[in-house]
């Protein structure tokens, strides 16, 4: 188990390093940040002075080396605009993103697992057809469109929920969470539901299920303890991978719902040519995705002893 963890941690570190290189190169390809940071009327000599103060005049290789040697210890430099450390700015926004991603994942799981079980157990029934309809609709709807429709119906017309924003801690926050959570849940649930359904269909025809039934176990126990447990192994792996997608989806959800998370911050920083913040945001998200997948591997290891060997 120890070497398994060490191996996976090493893989995560290499992946994050690779991502840091890519994000550095891409941000520097966008263009000269001085064009965006200074007013166009700024005289040439002051542009040059500013460039020198900010260190933009150094060769790109030197800039990369400085970036890398600081980044290793978690220092992504100071935001070009906000005069504060880029990492601090990113981590101020991280709780909002994690809150939304987690609530979305939980909602998706809560929808997908029972739905998958029912539609496999009652195959071709009205429930199975309804869940297929939900899956197709959920996959076909663009996130931003669903978000806007929910805002129009529940925020503007019915006035049940606030159209957007983060709200104050407490009930207000929960109210603000409902619509974006539903959007993320609907985005993630279909894939999970399909996996549960096909996994269950497969499991229910296995010998051990027949044995369990023959032993006289109650049907609920057969379904949950025997069939579902084996089905969950691929489901959890995919949930881990989907968590990354959900963080990506959060960029769109956060934009539609004015949710002050890292996705929104990343978009803003790209628009504002604030390279340190973009870099810190991307690398932070990469680390979180890496950690989640590491966690998933460990859970799967617990569920399925064969993988550990």
């Amino acid at each position: 188990m120890g070497s398994f963890i060490a191996n996976r941690v090493m893989q995560t570190v290499v992946a994050v390093f690779g991502i840091s290189v890519i994000v550095f190169v891409i941000t520097n390809m966008i263009g000269d940040p001085v064009n965006v940071l200074l007013p166009p009327e700024t005289p040439r000599e002051q542009r040059e002075l500013y460039r020198e103060q900010m260190g933009f005049n150094r060769p790109l290789v030197v800039q990369y080396w400085d970036f890398l040697s600081d980044a290793v210890v978690g220092d992504f430099g100071t935001s070009f605009r906000a005069e504060r450390p880029a990492m601090t700015i990113v981590w101020e926004r991280m709780p909002a993103t994690l809150l939304l991603t987690l609530s979305g994942t939980i909602l998706a799981t809560v929808i997908a697992i029972p739905m998958g079980i029912i539609s496999s157990y009652k195959r071709y029934s009205i429930w199975d057809n309804l869940s297929t309809l939900f899956v197709v609709a959920g996959q076909a709807m663009p996130i931003f469109w669903l978000g806007l429709m929910l805002i129009i119906v529940f925020g503007v017309n019915l006035k049940w929920l606030p159209p957007s924003g983060y709200g104050e801690f407490g009930i207000d926050r929960l109210k603000h969470m409902v619509l974006p959570t539903v959007v993320l849940g609907v985005f993630l649930a279909p894939v999970t539901e399909r996996l549960v359904r096909s996994g269950m269909l497969d499991a229910l025809t296995q010998d051990y299920i027949r044995t369990a039934r023959a032993k006289g176990l109650r049907e609920r126990v057969v379904l949950t303890r025997h069939a579902l447990r084996n089905t969950m192994i691929p489901v959890i792996t995919v949930l881990g991978l989907q968590f990354g997608q959900l963080l990506g989806g959060a960029v769109i959800t956060e934009t539609v719902f004015a949710w002050p998370g890292v996705g929104l911050l990343a978009i803003e920083s790209i628009r504002n040519a604030d390279f340190p913040v973009t870099q810190a945001a991307v690398v932070s998200l990469a680390i979180i995705i890496g950690l989640v997948n590491l966690g998933v591997d460990l859970i799967v290891g617990v569920l399925d002893p064969r993988i550990r060997r």
Partner: protein
């Protein structure tokens, strides 16, 4: 109004100026606008006929529940109050809360000297004060913290300051404050992004506690423009704290005091009950300036009654807002000028637009007034680039006539009987309906033989870099807000003086006139200089001349407020509708 727009599109299609796909797209956008409005209105039950003109679009009626529309402010408080983060919405015994959606991205700092954003300037007009402020009627700069000013020598301006003004922490506003602020922004070590605005300032000298002499490097006719959009911070606070502290703790003399900055969400301000200016009656006790990234979400907030003012309403959504019964649009002509630049200088390499006849042909090919009527919320023709709002605008200059035959003839004379093929570089734009305008223009140009291929860059920084480095094709879309300087110099110099990094044009005669305009302090003489300059620009046509923009705000029907031509929104002038 949207019907008319659609009819115009249809006409464009019939005349072959847009293709079928564009028409379909336009129809979809139009239908989506009407449909969304229908959906928005679907839940309204009371039928209050508002005064918006009826339409035949069948969009499900034009009413939303609006018992509050004409009622006193308190009326807006039902149901939605709990939906807002601020708690009380647009009402309350002490004047209530005004909720404004300021922008799509958050402000980077609370330090008024360390940004170059219009939204920053707007926010800080509320916490801080400026030495001068523009009169929205006359467009002239009038005294604010400065009581008066006088040009005592060609390069020396004497400012008399208002007395008895205190910062929110009790510090006095004096001549030392003014000197400190100018020294700070012009100090290269400070690396203020506003340093370029004050490049002409040589130094500030304190004469007495309430008088300063400001020296400029050369005679500087637009000096008073520098008194606005330049906010005064307390020198004592700045000396006692570092920049990182100032970036989070704004202390000014302005009509509102800072309460809290929830990053990525909102800036919360509360009324300064001891505000020095008796002419400013601040009706709302609290002011919340929110960040909402998506324009559709901003509109939803406005229509849900959870926001009182939004700064951008897309043209195709104006009808939805006006018919909502909850809010209305306000259109205001602004200083920003749009144009399609032609590389007359050959900065991007040899190209057909180096021949003035081809540039005139391009101008005659485009039905500018047609685009304004069909695709813009208004627009002021700019026959020689200068906006009618700029000081020095010459109204006697005639715009290019829409005349495709003349255009073809000019092209032939220039030696292109078979027409030309050029690349048209486009970046993200602040112009309403930019895509539709560009497509209509592309068709019109093609009709006379100027075949343009779009190269569209979705990233603003990539476009700006290419533009500034002289690589934006022989042709590109551009617009210029003159940095809110209401003077012909603010656009002619930056866009056409051969020394500027933005220019794709080189004319020694024009350069000399622009330098004379900058060096003269006599308004009459300057008018004549700029009139001459505009005639050169009109005759040389270094761009396809378009128009001065109109911008559209959305304002709750419970709030009385008007936008300004300089786009510096002053929310402290808002009041509940009686």
């Amino acid at each position: 109004m949207n019907d008319k727009i659609y009819a115009n599109w249809e006409r464009f299609y019939k005349e072959g100026r847009i293709d079928r796909r564009t028409l379909m797209k336009a129809a979809m956008v139009w239908a989506a606008g009407v449909g969304a409005m229908g959906a928005l209105a679907a839940c309204g039950d009371d039928d209050d006929d508002d005064d918006t003109p009826a339409t035949s679009t069948g969009g499900g009626g034009s009413q939303t529940e609006t018992p509050a529309a004409e009622a006193p402010t308190e009326a807006s408080d039902e149901g939605e109050a709990e939906a807002t983060s601020s708690g009380d919405s647009g009402s309350g015994g002490e004047g209530g809360t005004l909720r404004v959606i300021l922008d799509q991205s958050d402000l980077p700092t609370m330090d008024p000297h360390m940004h170059n954003l219009r939204t920053g300037i707007i926010a800080f007009y509320h916490i801080f004060d400026n030495l001068g402020v523009r009169n929205a009627e006359t467009n002239m700069i009038e005294p604010w913290l400065a009581e008066s000013w006088e040009n005592i020598e060609p390069t020396v301006w004497e400012l008399k300051l208002r007395q008895g003004i205190k910062f929110h922490n009790g510090d006095d506003f004096t001549a030392a404050t003014v000197k400190f602020n100018w020294d700070r922004v012009t100090n290269p070590e400070q690396a203020s992004q506003q340093i370029g605005n004050h490049a002409a300032i040589a130094g500030v000298e304190i004469v007495d506690d309430y008088t300063v002499h400001v020296t400029t490097k050369e005679p500087y006719p637009i000096f008073t423009e520098r008194l606005q959009n330049f906010q005064m911070i307390s020198e004592k606070v700045a000396e006692a704290n570092d920049d990182a502290w100032l970036a989070e703790n704004p202390i000014g003399t302005g009509p509102y005091k800072f309460v809290e900055w929830k990053k990525g969400q909102e800036l919360v301000l509360t009324r300064n009950d001891d505000y020095w200016n008796p002419d400013v009656e601040i009706a709302y006790k609290d002011l919340i300036l929110r960040t909402v990234p998506g324009v559709p979400t901003q509109l939803a907030e406005l229509l849900a009654g959870t926001a009182d003012i939004v700064r951008v309403v897309p043209f195709d959504q104006m009808q939805a807002v006006d018919n909502s019964g909850v809010a209305s649009t306000k259109t205001q002509s602004i200083l920003r000028v749009g144009f399609t630049r032609l590389d007359a200088m050959g900065r991007t390499g040899p190209n057909p637009f180096q021949d003035v006849r081809v540039r005139h042909a391009a101008n005659h090919a485009c039905d500018i007034q047609g685009y304004i009527d069909a695709l813009q919320p208004g627009g002021d023709r700019t026959p020689a680039l200068v906006n009618p709002k700029h000081f020095g605008f010459d109204p006697t200059i005639e715009p290019h006539e829409y005349n495709p035959d003349l255009a073809r003839q000019l092209l032939e004379e220039a030696g292109y009987p078979d027409g030309i093929d050029v690349t048209w570089v486009r970046g993200p734009s602040s112009m309403p309906n930019q895509d539709q305008v560009d497509q209509a223009m592309q068709r019109d140009l093609e009709a006379v033989g100027i075949r343009c291929t779009f190269e569209t860059l979705s990233d603003g920084n990539v476009f700006t870099t290419r533009h500034n480095e002289g690589q934006a094709g022989p042709m590109h879309s551009y617009n210029w807000g003159s940095y809110s300087v209401f003077d012909a110099d603010g656009i002619l110099w930056d866009m056409l003086h051969s020394n500027e990094i933005f220019t794709y044009y080189n004319n020694a005669e024009l350069d000399e006139l622009l330098e004379q305009g900058r060096g003269s302090l006599d308004p009459e003489e300057r008018k004549q200089i700029y009139s001459k300059a505009q005639r050169i620009v009109r005759d040389e046509a270094p761009m396809i001349f378009m128009w001065g923009f109109h911008a559209v705000w959305g304002v709750s029907n419970n709030v009385e407020w008007s936008p300004r031509p300089d786009e510096i929104d002053m929310y402290f002038t808002a009041r509940p509708k009686a």
